[in-house]
């Protein structure tokens, strides 16, 4: 009578016959885990800020904000307007991707007027003289339920006349 413990099959449990696939799967999983972490270090899942810029004769517009964020993350967008010509009513128009399903914590400096137009946020500031810059800081938080890609374009107007615009997209991870 064999003294092999019950439930033990030597071919399978000692020699690993027929278990090569499982071993391969384990190695593959570990490689995928490593790839996941390396991808995160390379900013695949945010939230390293990037800068987009647009220029025109009257002014330049520069936006610095992360293009990838994760649910619940607090982050900041910095918008810099540099006037080359006088701008009577510098107005920033933010696509709804900036604010829809996103908590806008603070907007500094305080705008002279804030309105909404077809879901886009319009914020107007006092006149800007040539050579002057205006830096706007927006503190945001991504709502955890908001997943996917959002248009986060931004345009600079002088009253109703468009000066420059930046096309951006933000991807929200769960």
């Amino acid at each position: 009578m064999s003294d092999l413990p019950q439930g033990i099959d030597l071919q399978r449990h000692r020699d690993f016959e027929g278990r090569e696939f499982g071993q391969g799967l384990r190695h593959l999983f570990l490689v995928l885990l490593l790839a996941f972490v390396v991808a995160a270090l390379l900013n695949a899942f945010g939230a390293r800020p990037s800068t987009s810029e647009a220029g025109a004769a009257a002014a330049t517009l520069k936006v610095t904000a992360p293009e990838r964020v994760r649910g619940g993350l607090l982050y900041q967008a910095r918008i810099v307007i540099h006037a080359r010509q006088p701008i009577g009513a510098p107005t920033l128009v933010l696509d709804k991707g900036w604010i829809e399903e996103t908590t806008l914590n603070t907007l500094e400096p305080e705008p002279a007027e804030t309105t909404s137009d077809r879901g886009r946020l319009k914020i107007r500031y006092p006149p800007l003289e040539p050579g002057r810059s205006l830096t706007v800081y927006i503190a945001l938080q991504a709502n955890p339920n908001d997943i996917g890609s959002h248009d986060q374009g931004l345009a600079l107007y002088d009253a109703d006349e468009e000066i420059a615009s930046v096309d951006r997209t933000q991807v929200n991870f769960p």
């Binding site: 003294d3 413990p5 449990h13 619940g72 955890p144």
Partner: protein, 147 residues
């Protein structure tokens, strides 16, 4: 709804992780491992409930995880072919006093660790061991040689 999905995703990921990491990492709990376990629990909780502080949310997350645990266990019980995948299989580490080196390497186990486990079972030498088997729960069972 989203909290149920998040809980299910985290459950699936953790299940896969625990199956793939190797069972020795899970059964040999050093003080650092216990701290790590608490930290992982905290990180997972944040991912599942996020900004939901409600009792309803907590009940939903716990219910989802409990149901999935039962589902995995029921599947393992009912479907024999899936049992090795879901629960793992035993591995022979020592046969007739000789260590099976390839299997120790697969589990990142040293001979010293097996000897230590043997001592805990009042076995002085691996030469006295007929079978040492790494069970699916990560523990090593020893069958001594007949005198």
């Amino acid at each position: 709804m989203d909290i149920v999905i998040r809980a299910a995703v985290v459950f699936a990921f953790l299940y896969l992780l625990m199956r793939m990491l190797g069972r020795r990492e899970l059964s040999s709990m050093e003080p650092f491992d216990i701290i790590l376990l608490v930290v992982i629990g905290d990180l997972v909780q944040q991912g599942v409930t996020q900004s939901d502080y409600s009792v309803t949310g907590a009940l939903l997350a716990v219910s989802t995880i409990a149901l999935l645990t039962v589902l995995v266990s029921w599947t393992s019980f009912r479907v024999r072919r899936l049992r090795p995948i879901l629960a793992g299989e035993p591995i022979v580490l020592v046969e007739d006093g000789e260590v099976v080196g390839a299997n120790l390497r697969r589990q990142r186990l040293t001979v010293e660790e097996v000897e230590s486990e043997a001592r805990l079972e009042q076995i002085a030498s691996l030469e006295d061991v007929r079978w040492a088997i790494l069970e699916t729960n990560g523990e090593i069972s020893f069958v001594e040689k007949q005198q």
